[in-house]
């Protein structure tokens, strides 16, 4: 079972939930920028949440499924089409062998995740299938997809087989059908409105001038063109540190907001380095990390302060909600 890559898209990579345990060796975590979206897509096709899928950036790929496939999409709407018809997000979709998935949406923005039953079965590297482009490691040869690639698909989970069997009979002549039910996928900012993420003050927060602390929470930042899977440089009010002593390198993570001497913050994403020496002004909360996946050039971003207890309660609520969704999918597969 495999998937042929007809067109690679702008930046399509194999990602799972990341490579853990090697940060002390300087190896970054990587993984889907919106883990909740990938986990939801995996649930919809009966996969374990840790299965690898594809991360799509702005312009999606064109893929031909060489065998019957159960797929699901989550994240931004990049204009997915099967046999010319739009494919809904957040639903399992049963597809006959030979069908082509394409993305046609001029001016589409954002990132999306595609899961297939069985997962993208590239060989794991150091416990993960996530692609880390800078070190050319993991994923498909450590790189983004290229035209002509063949993606291996793993063995289908039982839930995926049951879902496929229950959905396909609804297929029209085109050879594919979506389930009549859906799961809520992570909400995206409505177009035009700034993306809002909640954050905790970082370890060096107190080193910043009060006016800068205030500006950080109150002003809107714009994502510059220097934005990739490592991080996004923001432009907005200049944030001034009161001391100019150099810091000793210490850990940074997905969601760390660091401020280089120029005073324009950088929010770090999934491919960020493991340690850094810039002051850490804030840390985006775990429950909002997935929203940062839509931080692409030109996007507007606002930070809202929360406390540690509230942040952890929001994470707990997210995880309970995801468990409930997983149970719901299992029930659907039995109907």
């Amino acid at each position: 079972m495999s998937i042929s890559v007809l067109k690679p898209g702008l930046l399509t990579t194999v990602q799972d939930l990341g490579r853990f345990g090697y940060q002390k060796e300087g190896l970054v975590v990587s993984g889907a920028l919106d883990a909740v979206a990938l986990r939801t897509a995996n649930m919809l096709v009966g996969n374990p949440e840790t299965a690898a899928g594809l991360e799509l950036t702005l312009r999606g790929p064109a893929l031909r499924f060489e065998a019957d496939t159960l797929l699901a999409l989550a994240g931004a709407d990049l204009g997915a089409r099967l046999t010319g018809q739009p494919v809904p997000l957040g639903r399992p979709v049963a597809v006959r062998a030979g069908t082509v998935l394409a993305f046609e949406k001029p001016g589409a923005s954002g990132r999306a995740w595609l899961a297939v039953a069985g997962g993208v079965a590239v060989p794991p590297v150091l416990g993960s299938r996530a692609t880390y482009l800078r070190a050319a490691l993991g994923g498909l040869g450590g790189r983004a997809l290229q035209a002509g690639d063949m993606l291996p698909v793993g063995e289908w989970p039982a839930v995926g087989r049951w879902l496929f069997a229950s959905i396909l009979p609804q297929a029209a002549a085109g050879g594919w059908a979506a389930a009549r039910w859906s799961l809520p996928t992570p909400p995206l900012a409505s177009s035009g409105a700034p993306l809002v993420v909640r954050a905790l003050p970082g370890p060096e927060y107190a080193q910043f001038a009060q006016a800068s602390q205030q500006a950080f929470w109150e002003e809107t930042f714009t994502v510059t063109t220097e934005a990739d899977r490592m991080g996004a440089r923001l432009s907005g009010p200049v944030l001034r540190r009161l001391v100019d002593t150099e810091l000793l390198s210490s850990a940074v993570a997905f969601g760390t907001v660091q401020v280089p001497p120029g005073g324009q913050p950088i929010v770090l994403l999934a491919d960020c380095q493991t340690t850094g020496g810039y002051p850490r002004l804030a840390q985006v909360i775990s429950a909002d990390l997935g929203r940062l996946a839509q931080v692409l050039p030109g996007a507007q971003l606002r930070f809202v302060p929360v406390g540690l207890a509230a942040a952890q309660a929001l994470y707990l609520a997210q995880e309970r909600r995801l468990r409930a969704l997983a149970r719901a999918v299992h029930l659907k597969s039995l109907l």
Partner: protein, 241 residues
């Protein structure tokens, strides 16, 4: 120093990490305590522990708050902070018995095409190229931490006389294995990357290899010595590694 007060400060890095700070300055004693603490943590991992990242003065502990939520009534951070604090005496006890880390030899071909800035470092230090090589290969360096890039070691122990400012214009691409000096630091590039360090040589050894069980050749706590080799030896070793 068993009677000095516990030099430990804890603070959160967001909602899924806690930073243990053991001091304010780069010092072998602080480094050794961090190493001892990391070893105690590996033997007695508290519930929810994901992974740890040692740095110059800190040990950052990543954790899953969900595991701790399901365990107790206290906040996940509070539970973990007190569990970590209770391990400090064991770390201090382990420190007394700690052995020095393994000594890793890094063969380096100095100068020529591999070390285009050797002459500049020499003239800045008012030494001959041979004296720079002698002073660079003399110390036993300490790997304080690995970070910045996969397998990149932060080393302590550079001869102060070799300190040289970074290049004004960084090179667009520095090859993996390049050995350089930047300010009072020396190090080895582990991946091809842009970089502004003054390059004095190159090693044929691979500092990072995802095919190894321990992908980073160097680990925090290792000791390191640079060993000068000829270009012929470099070519021979490059085939071996």
């Amino acid at each position: 120093m068993a009677d000095s007060p516990p030099p430990l400060r804890l603070y959160p890095l967001g909602d899924a990490a806690v930073v243990l700070e053991f001091g304010q300055a780069i010092a072998p004693a602080t480094h050794q305590l961090i190493q001892a603490f990391a070893k105690v943590l590996a033997r007695h991992p508290p519930p929810g522990l994901r992974e740890v990242v040692p740095a110059f003065t800190t040990l950052t502990v990543y954790y899953d708050p969900l595991v701790l939520f399901e365990l107790g009534e206290a906040s996940p951070y509070g539970q973990l902070a007190s569990a970590l604090q209770s391990l400090l005496p064991a770390a201090q006890a382990a420190l007394a018995a700690a052995e020095p880390g393994p000594l890793v030899e890094i063969p380096v071909c100095y100068g020529g095409d591999f070390g285009p800035d050797l002459g500049l470092v020499a003239s800045h230090a008012q030494l001959s190229a041979a004296e720079v090589i002698a002073r660079h290969t003399q110390p036993e360096y300490l790997v304080y931490m690995v970070g910045f890039a996969p397998g990149f070691p932060y080393l302590g122990g550079l001869d102060a006389g070799l300190a040289t400012p970074r290049r004004a214009q960084p090179r667009p691409l520095v090859p993996a294995g390049a050995v350089g000096i930047a300010g009072a630091q020396t190090g080895v590039y582990s991946l091809p990357t842009p970089g502004g360090w003054q390059l004095i040589g190159r090693t044929p050894r691979r500092l990072f290899d995802a095919g190894r069980a321990r992908p980073s050749l160097l680990q925090a706590g290792d000791r390191l010595r640079f060993v000068p080799i000829s270009e012929a030896e470099f070519q021979r070793l490059a085939h071996v590694h």
